[in-house]
């Protein structure tokens, strides 16, 4: 299915979500990501001559948000979904709902401000100021103005004006690097010897961090420094340090090769 790009401009993820939910009635899970990506590539090809960067990035943003939403559901959830986790998901949903409502409230308030401005904009104020015959009387407006203040005003004026830009932090607010995680594990595992993956990641809040730890564990396994064992499908995963360095030797981690380890960042 070809995905046509019609872009009302979305300033942020909430706005995009609002639009998707209230206007388009899109079921986020029905949208095929590969179709979106194909459409995106086709779009870039067709408009290469005069590529509207803004539209292109906007579209990329939409795709990324959808990807994030989808990805969230793909991440290792728990089979035996713990109550806490389930609550957390509902809490997350309520939080998102509250933010969407707030976003919508201020969007509508902005609409009211626009109407006020449009109405007020039909009048122009009198700004002629003093007639010449009174000009002499007025106190000197330069009272207290130094040459330095002039310079400061000029520097403010010359400062580059900010360009509107999209901030993509929301797409992956957490930056986690596998290299860092490998280093952490290489320091921690020799100390504890054997540990379950669940315990190893118990203090992590973000799923991305859990994933990165998992990838780090795989990396160490590949390097032959860690043994993984799992009793069966969905059973508890255990890690055991088999690399050089005795348990308790914190320096063991320093010898782990970190080149070629990927970074997972936003």
């Amino acid at each position: 299915m070809p995905y046509t790009v019609s872009t009302p401009v979305f300033e942020g993820p909430f706005e995009l979500l609002l639009h998707l939910i209230t206007r388009e009635q899109v079921d986020l899970w029905e949208v095929s990501l590969s179709a979106i990506v194909d459409g995106y590539v086709a779009l870039i090809d067709s408009v290469r001559a005069d590529l509207d960067l803004e539209t292109a990035t906007e579209f990329l943003l939409i795709a990324s948000v959808l990807l994030e939403l989808k990805a969230r559901r793909l991440l290792p959830g728990s089979d035996e979904a713990e109550l806490d986790e389930e609550l957390a998901i509902w809490e997350e949903r309520d939080l998102l709902l509250a933010r969407l409502l707030e976003c919508k409230t201020f969007k509508d308030a902005a609409g009211a401000l626009t109407r006020l401005m449009d109405a007020a904009g039909r009048s122009w104020p009198r700004s002629a100021g003093l007639e010449d015959r009174f000009a002499e009387l007025a106190p000197d407006p330069l009272e207290g103005v130094s040459a330095d203040r002039l310079r400061d005003a000029m520097r403010r004026l010359l400062a580059p004006r900010p360009q509107p830009r999209l901030n993509l932090d929301h797409v992956a607010p957490i930056r986690a690097s596998v290299a860092d995680a490998v280093a952490e594990l290489a320091e921690e595992l020799p100390r504890v010897g054997r540990i379950s993956f669940a315990r190893l990641t118990a203090d992590l809040v973000e799923r991305l961090e859990v994933i990165v730890r998992f990838l780090a564990a795989l990396e160490l396994c590949k390097q032959g420094r860690v043994e993984l064992d799992q009793a069966g499908s969905f059973a508890e995963l255990h890690l055991r340090w088999v690399g050089e360095g005795e348990p308790g030797d914190a320096r063991a981690g320093e010898v782990v090769a970190l080149d070629q380890v990927e970074e997972y960042v936003g």
């Binding site: 933010r99 409502l101 902005a110």
Partner: protein
């Protein structure tokens, strides 16, 4: 016919280049402020009754003369440089947040909008619609922003109290329902492609793998 003080108000407003507070008029004319307000109201009414091409309005805490909105097409042609440049929707939303939530930090604005507020706030500051009004006493001492009299002038409002109440914009039940529906689809759809949205709890992980 017209009293001297009423005429004096007309004369002063004619040479003013920004709205003049009634308190200042009262001081110059040596009149109680209430009398000034009465006189201004009388002037407003008389210009209206005479169908003048200008009007006397109260904006940003003061009185000023301005052209009558009816005549915008003519004035526009005369003014040439459209001084009423439009704001982007991003700027307007940010402005709304600052107007209703002031004083507010950049971080708070960003968290409501979900995108960085730095660029937009700087643009609004350059336009003179928002300004630093203080510092957060907490750690970090974030700059706090508020709106300016120039914004009130641009909105044609006498004071911030004249802003339409924010409650007016809180989405109604149908929007709330639509949003809930949308978010529900998020969790239910992953259970089975094309499934009816339901109140189902979040999906078990093994099915997510099909998505």
């Amino acid at each position: 016919m017209a009293t001297e003080s009423v005429r004096a108000i007309e004369a002063i407003l004619m040479v003013a280049d920004r709205p003049v507070e009634p308190g200042l008029l009262a001081q110059v004319l040596e009149l109680p402020p209430a009398r000034v307000e009465e006189s201004c109201a009388a002037l407003q009414a008389s210009y209206e009754a005479e169908d003048r091409g200008f009007c006397l309005v109260r904006v940003a805490g003061g009185y000023r003369f301005q052209s009558h909105p009816d005549l915008a097409p003519y004035v526009e042609r005369f003014v040439l440089d459209g001084q009423h440049a439009r704001l982007s929707s991003a700027a307007l939303e940010t402005l709304a947040i600052v107007a209703y939530k002031q004083p507010i930090s950049r971080g708070q604005v960003a968290s409501i909008r979900g995108v960085s507020a730095e660029g937009v706030l700087r643009t609004l500051e350059q336009r003179g619609y928002v300004a630093e009004v203080g510092r957060d006493p907490g750690p970090g001492q974030a700059v706090l922003y508020g709106t300016t009299p120039a914004l009130l002038e641009r909105l044609g409002l006498g004071s911030l109290a004249e802003l339409p109440p924010l409650e007016d914009f809180v989405p109604g039940p149908e929007v709330l329902e639509a949003l809930e529906q949308g978010l529900r689809a998020e969790s239910s759809a992953a259970r089975g492609a094309g499934g009816e949205p339901s109140d189902a709890p979040p999906p078990p992980s093994e099915e997510g793998a099909q998505g």
